[in-house]
Amino acid sequence: MHSFLYNRKVRDTLIQLIFFAVICFGITYLALNAATNMRDAGLTSGFDFLFQRAGYDISYSLIHYDPKTSTHLMAWAAGMVNTIAFAVVAILLTTVMALCLAVMRLSQNFLLSKVSLCLVEYVRNVPILVHISVWYTLSLMLPSVRQAFNFGDVSFLSNRGLSIPSVEWNYGLLASLVFAALWIVLCFFVKKRVSTTGRRIISVLLMTVVLVVLASLVFTPVVSFTTPKLVGFNFKHGWTLPPEFIMLIIAVSTYSAAHGSEVIRGSILAISKGQMEAGLALGVRPNIVMNKVIIPQALHSIIPPMTSIYINVLKAAALGSVVGFMDIMGTMGGSSLNITGQAIECIVIVMVSYGILNLILAAIMGRFNKAMQLKGR
C-alpha cells in the first residue's frame, strides 16, 4: 500500500482527480445556489431574452438602434461595434502618440527630451480614471453649437461633439464588384514591384489612390463627402462623434501612449550602439540608419509588449460606462442585465465578447510579429 501511494503515476493521477473533484464540486455548488436563487426570483435561465425588446436608449451607436423596437441582441451588437470603433481609433492614436513621445524623448535636444520625460512620467503615474474624469470635465466646458470651434468650415467641435464630413460610397453593387476585382488584379501587379523594392504598404496605398482617382475621373466619383452644416440648434449631415467618445479616446490613448513610449524607447536603447556607429561610419545618414537598421531590429522586441498595451486599450472601453459611453459592458453587462435580471447569461456574453475581441487582436499582432521577425538561417 505504501509503495502504491508513492508510485509517481498513481500519485499524479490521484492529485489530479482530487483537484478535478474539488473544482467540479465548487462549480456544482455555485450552480445549485444560482438555480435556487433564480427560481426564488422567478427567473428562467436561457438566452431567449436576447430576442426581446430592449427598451433602453444607447446614447451613441454606429449602427441603427431604436430603443422602441430593437432587441437586446441589437443592443449587444451596438455595444460591440462601439467597442471595436473605439479600439481601432484609440490603438492607432496610441501608436502615433507613443512614437512621437519616444522620438521626442530620444532627441538630442535637451529641452524636447525633458518635456517628453515630464509628460510621460506624469501621465503614466496617474490612474486612468483620473485622466478620464479630467477630460470629461474639459468636455463639459466646450462651447455651444453656435460658438463651436470651426476647423476650416469642414469640421466643428462643440458640446455636441466633433462633427466631421461623412464619406459615402457612390457605386452600386455591380460597380463595386468591378472595382474590387480591378483592385485585386492590380494588387497582383504590385506584388511584382514589391519583390524588387520591398515597399509593400506604400505601393498598395499608391495604387489604391491612383485607382480611385482614375475611376472618379472616368466614371462618377467613387466617394463623396458631405460636410456638416449648422441647421437650427444642431449640426445636420456629416458624422458627429459625441464628446464622451472623443474624450474617452483621448484619455485612454494618452495614458497608453505614455506606457507605449517607454516600451519603444527601451527597445531602441537596447539595440547596441555599435549598430548606429557602423551605419554612420559607412557614410549613411542618421535618419536612414534609424529607419533601416535600428527600428527593424527594435521592432520585434517592441511588438509583444505593445500587444499587451493594445489589449489594455481594448479593455479600457469598459471604463466608458463612467462617462456614459456604452460599450459591451455598458449595454449587455449594464442596462440589459439590470432590465432582464439574466445576470449569468449577460456576464457570460460580455466575457465571451471580450475574449473573442482579444483573440482577434492577439492573432493580428501575432501575424505582424511573425512578419517582422528577423529571418535567421
Partner: protein, 372 residues
Amino acid sequence: MNHQASIEKITGKPIEARAKKEVPFSFSRVTVWIKRNLFNTWLDSVVTLALIALLCLLLPKALDWLFFSATFSGTNRADCAPGAACWIPIRQYMDYYIYGPFPESEQWRVNSAFAVGLFAFPLLFSQRIPQKWIVAYILVLPVVLWLLLKGGFIFEDISTSALGGLTLTFFLGIIAMCLSLPVSILLALGRQSQLPILRWACTGYIEIIRSVPVITFLFMASLVLQLFLPSGVSIDVLFRVLFVLIFVSAVYKAEIIRGAIQAVPKGQIEASYAMGCGYWKTMAYVVMPQALRNSVPALITNFIGLFKETTLVMILGLLEVMGAINATFHNAEWLGLHAEGPIVISAFFFIACFSIAQYGAYLERRIKRTKH
C-alpha cells in the same frame, strides 16, 4: 568580489578611486553644451525656441494660478480669489482625505498601519535580511493591517463603511498585493506543472481573467455574486472588492513569476532532483528564491498598477482617496471648482507611484549589478 578589489589583491597596492575632477566653471564649456544640446541643427534651434516661447507663455500663468494668486486660507467660498485656484476645501477636508470616516479616537491605528505598510518597502527587498524573515513579514503584514484597520482580536471592530480615503486605498492596495502573491505563485506553478488537468485549469483561468476588464469583475462582484451565494448569506462590498482585486491581480503576477521561473537555469532544477529533493523542496529552496528576487522590479510595476486600479472601486460607491476628494467637491458650497480636485488627486498619485517606480528602478539596477 568586485573588479577593483581583485586588482588590488594582485598588484598589492590600492588603486585610488578615480577622483571626479573638479572642472572649473568656464563660459566656453557652457556655450558648447548649449550649442550641442539645444541648437545642434537649424531644426533643433526652431524646436528649442518654440518650446522656450511656449514655456514662457504657460509656466508663469500656471504658477500664478496654482500658487501666487491662489487662496490658501479662509473658511468659506467667499474667501476664494476669483480666477485662481482655491485650496481652502483641500485644507478643510485633509483629515477626511487621509482617514475617511474613521473614528477620530482610533486614528493612531491608521497611522501605525501606514508605518507598518511603508516599512515593508525597504525591508522586503533588502538583501541583508534572510529571505525567511521577508516571507514571514509578507504573511504577517495583511493580518496586522487587518487588525489595525478593520479590528478584531484586541482591537475594537470598525465598520467597513468607516474605511475611506487614503486609508481605504492603502488597505486595498497592500492587502491585495500581499494576499495575491501566494495565489499567483500557485497559479504560476500550476501553469508550469507536468499534470495536464492542473495545467489546463490554471492556463484557462489566467487567460480568461486577463482578457476581460477588471471593471467587469467589479460589477460582477457587486451585482452577480449574490446570485451564487446561498440565500441569507451576504458578503460586505468591501470584501467582495478585495476578493476581486486579489484574484485579478494574481493573474498578472502569475505571468511575471512564470517568466522568472523559466529564466532559472534548468540545470539547477535537475541538480536539485538529482540530490534527491522532491518537487516542493526544489521549488521552495532552489527555484523560488531566485525567481522571486528577479521578478521584484516587475512586481513593483505591478503593484503600481494595482495601486492605481484601486480607484476603480469608486465606481461601486466606495470612497477611496479619489472618491473622497471628488465627494467634497460635489458639496454644494464648493460646487464649480472643477480643477482643484483632479489636481490634488493627480499630485497624490504622481508622488506615490513615481517614488515607488524610482525605487523599483533602483532595485533593478542593483540586481543587474549583482548578476555580473
